[in-house]
């Protein structure tokens, strides 16, 4: 009996997928989550990891920022090689703004919660939306204060009931409507359990030059996922009104859209990529501010959540552009640039004599 003298080659190691900057998705992960099993925030973390990998973002460019709360703990669970700053409750926006002033080439990813943004952080939120700071601002919205064990938050719906029986009798803040009214240039709402939609809006947010606000309904399994909560999985799934289908087309990728011909609306983003909306809704234009506000009002009145890309204004300049800064980050300018000369000081002294 003859045998083949060539040894059988060992099975080839599976080829690891890398993105356009040669990184595997593993490079975008962080530490192990200490959030409750089944927490919506964990799903959002997964989507962040995938979206940043998919878009080939350099983790060295990203800074992760958060306030205080369960959602604000999550930046430790993604992008482990990026710098992070866990600030004080409600005050992540100033930290993000300051960091960007110091280095305008950074991409801040801010994670906040509905209490962090809608209660104590309401003031800073207003001014961040006005300024159009180029960053991604995610509100992981569960309508309650999970970390301090389940108090109501300002986005808790009227009439919703806590586990302990307390009923909310104040109208909720609609962070999306508020943001649009304040001048925000990218406002989207999604749901932690909607993998496809959340992934798409995240990628669109990465490409947007300005503040990209993502209000992500993220049910709290421990304190707000029960009967009577309007932010539980079951409630949201039953009342979710998806706003068209969003396919995000990064400029460096070719994606074949497999859909029946229908009217499409293409919105150009600043970096050359395009957002294509498949109109399921008759005549909805995400560039129409009043239409967005009306939609939010009407859906809320019906107890529904409009999800998807609600409003976009790609061409308004960002706050950083207004400052007309030199290209080199301010944090990296040398003394020869930042310390004026002897002649300058002498001239100033002369004028004071």
């Amino acid at each position: 009996m003859s045998t083949d003298s060539t040894p059988t080659p060992a099975p080839a190691a599976p080829v690891k997928k890398v993105n356009r900057i040669q990184l595997e998705v593993q490079a975008y992960r962080g530490g192990k989550s200490t959030l409750c099993a089944g927490c919506g925030h964990n799903a959002i973390t997964e989507r962040i990891v995938e979206a940043f990998w998919d878009m080939g973002v350099d983790p060295q460019r990203v800074i992760k920022l958060s306030g205080i709360g369960c959602s604000s703990k999550s930046p430790a669970y993604f992008l482990g090689t990026s710098h992070g700053f866990n600030a004080v409750h409600g005050r992540m926006p100033p930290i993000a703004t300051g960091a960007l002033l110091a280095n305008k080439h950074l991409l801040p990813l801010g994670v906040s919660g509905d209490g962090d943004t809608g209660a104590i952080g309401a003031g800073h939120f207003v001014h961040m939306m006005r300024r159009n700071i180029p960053m991604i601002y995610i509100v992981e919205n569960n309508g309650c204060y999970g970390l301090t064990k389940g108090q109501l938050s300002p986005t808790a719906d009227l009439g919703s009931r806590l586990k302990n029986g307390v009923v909310n009798d104040l109208p909720p803040l609609d962070l999306c409507a508020l943001a649009i009214q304040l001048g925000a240039t990218f406002v989207a709402r999604s749901f932690s359990g909607d993998k496809k939609q959340l992934g798409s809006v995240l990628k669109a947010a990465i490409a947007h030059r300005g503040t990209a606000l993502l209000d992500v309904i993220s049910p709290c399994v421990t304190f707000n996922d029960h009967e009577g909560s309007t932010k539980s999985f079951s409630y949201v799934k039953d009342h979710d009104e998806p706003l068209g289908e969003i396919t995000f087309v990064p400029y460096f990728d070719d994606i074949t859209v497999d859909s029946a011909p229908g009217t499409t609306q293409e919105v150009a983003l600043h970096d050359g990529s395009r957002v294509i909306l498949k109109k399921l809704d008759d005549g909805y234009d995400p560039r129409n501010k009043m239409a967005a506000l009306t939609l939010l009002h009407d859906t809320a009145a019906r107890g529904e959540f409009a999800t998807g890309l609600l409003y976009i204004e790609p061409d308004r300049g960002s706050f950083i552009e207004l400052l007309n800064l030199v290209d080199t980050p301010l944090s990296m300018l040398g003394e020869e640039v930042t310390r004026p000369s002897r002649e300058v000081l002498a001239e100033i002294m002369d004028r004071l004599r």
Binding site: T81, H83, F85, V88, T97, G98, E335, T338, R339
Partner: protein, 605 residues
């Protein structure tokens, strides 16, 4: 300090030793006249200061501007007013009643102030009659009117008219029409006094040579210049009296000197934030990301910043905070001076915190200490406070021309490739050198990243609730603060051997303390030593000074003896009993006579 202690030649004459107080209404254009007066004396080589007492209002309420000239360089506030210019009918009677006997009053004739008292020297001036021929446009008369008293004082006190005209030119710049009108008003006042007001008092200004090469500047501007020369790149602020002019002045200088000539782009970002919390948050975010950042505010703003300052302290992020102190608590007296934030700022925020404070006494130190604050903030990786006050910040001070820095910027312990190789591995809060100061990386520098968190952390910056991690970390922070004793500006000490009494003062109290020493010696034969604090933490000089004296008077402008409290916490317990207080906290700048009287009372002399 100039010591030209020759007695005046004529009996009763007071040469280059008087205070002039102009009582007017704010918004009436008296500022130009007052600055011309101040500058003229300065240009004649006489040491001067100008202090504005103004209401928390925009226009229409009483304001008093006091100019002190003193040939020996004592330019702190003088308790007594030697010459009152009474231009405000509303306060005129009260102003006159407050004067010491023998004082001089130049006043608007219709006020008939000479009926109020008999023991003063009165010079009535018909301002409205004099201004009409000089200024045909009735609308401008209100503004030009004040220049008439400058002309009157020029004649009465012997202030050289040529210097007045030069000072006016400097104030008005290229405004030819205003120049003509004001010059005419000056002349009208001079000629009226020459013809109608025979001199009946002994106050006189004579040329001397004590101001050559010096500048006149508000200390808020000095802070701004110091910040620019420190290479500040990010300034985030919120307006508040008496701090706003720090950043407003800085904006002017930066736009002129820190724009890239080729591109017209800025090498700085100055952002007016929505409140003080956002201001300090942005400054910390920028400092964390590696920029030299600052904010400027007053007491109420510092209160708001407490939480973020604790975060900056605990996570070790640099930032410079200028506190131009005013009277508190709460809204307090926004346009009055105090040193009332010393204690709360030293330990600002909950938990165990201690902050570096730099405490300038002069415009020149406001410049130099602000510059040094940036070095210290980055060296110690912590918020650093520059504690000035309204008296310094918003009044006009003589100063030597500010010196160009003789050392490069100190960016502190930044992790770089070489250090990383040397250390082998890196943890954000590892005390590598034993001084309590770790190495830090910043976003974008290519070094390993870390997570900055205000919650308990270990030496690697990871979340930790462990007792040992927590204690080691805060003990290291205490060690870092001890190291700062070697780096902050040390005390200025004049310790006279064998003397029982020591004076301690800080900040703007220095000028009155210095003059009080002179009064105690010349008028009462009491010799004192003097230590001037310039920073917190204190150096070992303080313990030594207190140890060398029997009774030590801590002079300060707050009610609760705040610096005395900080000293008591710091010196050995046996020394605490020696510390006594001299306090002045009514909102005006402290004066020497108050100090002298308080020391004498407590010494039972």
């Amino acid at each position: 300090m100039v010591d030209n202690s020759q007695a005046p030649a004529e009996t009763g004459a007071r040469v280059n030793d008087f205070s002039i107080q102009v009582a007017t209404v704010n918004g009436s254009g008296s500022q130009t006249a007052n600055l011309v007066l101040l500058r003229s004396l300065f240009q004649m080589g006489i040491p001067v200061s100008g202090k504005n007492m103004f209401p928390s209002n925009i226009a229409g309420l009483p304001t008093w501007y006091t100019i002190r000239a003193n040939r020996r360089g004592f330019i702190g506030r003088k308790k007594e007013v030697d010459l009152l210019v009474a231009m405000n009918a509303e306060t005129a009677r009260e102003d006159v009643l407050a004067l010491a006997p023998g004082a001089v009053v130049v006043y608007d004739e219709p006020l008939t102030l000479d009926a109020v008292r008999e023991d003063l020297v009165f010079y009535p001036v018909p301002f409205d009659k004099l201004v009409a021929p000089v200024c045909p446009d009735a609308k401008l008369r209100k503004l030009v009117r004040n220049m008439i008293y400058d002309g009157v004082l020029s004649r009465l006190l012997g202030i050289e008219m040529a210097e007045m005209e030069k000072a006016l030119g400097r104030q008005l710049g290229k405004k030819a029409k205003a120049m003509t009108l004001n010059l005419a008003a000056l002349k009208a006042g001079y000629e009226f006094a020459d013809a109608q007001l025979p001199k009946r008092d002994g106050l006189r200004a004579e040329r001397m040579d004590a101001t050559a090469g010096k500048i006149l500047v508000e200390a808020n501007a000095a802070v701004a210049i110091g910040a620019m020369m420190a290479g500040v790149t990010v300034v985030t602020w919120y307006p508040i009296t008496p701090s706003s002019t720090v950043v407003e002045t800085l904006i002017g200088y930066m736009k002129e000197y820190r724009i890239d000539k080729a591109t017209g782009q800025a090498t700085f970002a100055i952002v007016q934030a929505e409140d003080e919390l956002a201001s300090i948050g942005m400054a910390l975010g920028a400092g964390w990301a590696g920029a030299r950042s600052m904010t400027s505010t007053s007491g109420p703003g510092v209160s708001l910043m407490a939480e973020f300052i604790g975060l900056g302290y605990y996570t070790e992020v640099p930032a410079v905070i200028v506190n131009v102190q005013r009277v508190g608590p709460s809204t307090g007296l926004p346009t009055r001076t105090a040193q009332g934030d010393v204690l709360s700022t030293a330990v600002l925020s909950h938990g165990d915190t201690k902050h570096i404070m730099l405490i300038p006494s002069s415009a020149e130190e406001c410049y130099g200490f602000t510059m040094q604050a940036f070095d210290l903030a980055e060296r110690f990786q912590t918020p650093v406070f520059v504690m000035t006050d309204l008296d310094l910040g918003m009044n006009t001070w003589m100063a030597n021309a500010f010196p160009y820095p003789d050392k490069p910027l100190d960016r502190g312990k930044r992790l770089d490739a070489e250090t990383l190789t040397r250390l082998g591995e890196w943890g954000r809060y590892v005390d590598v050198d034993g001084d309590g100061i770790p190495y830090r990386s910043v976003p974008g520098d290519g070094m390993p990243a870390y997570f900055n968190r205000g919650s308990g952390h270990n030496a690697r910056g990871q979340y930790s609730e462990r007792a040992d991690d927590y204690q080691q970390n805060v003990d290291r922070l205490a060690r870092k603060f001890e190291t700062a004793r070697q780096w902050v500006p040390g005390e200025v000490v004049d310790s006279v051997p064998g003397v029982e009494i020591g004076l301690i003062a800080y900040g703007s109290s220095h000028w009155a303390a210095d003059e009080a020493r002179d009064q105690l010696l010349r008028e009462y034969g009491v010799t004192t030593s003097y230590l001037r604090l310039r920073a917190y933490p204190f150096t070992s000089e303080v313990e030594r000074f207190i140890g060398a004296h029997k009774r030590v008077y801590v002079i300060e402008q707050n009610r609760d003896a705040q610096m005395r409290s900080l000293l008591a916490l710091d010196v050995t317990p046996g020394q605490v009993g020696k510390l006594r207080s001299v306090l002045y906290y009514a909102g005006l700048p402290i004066d020497a006579r108050t100090i002298t009287d308080a020391v004498l009372t407590q010494e039972q002399m």
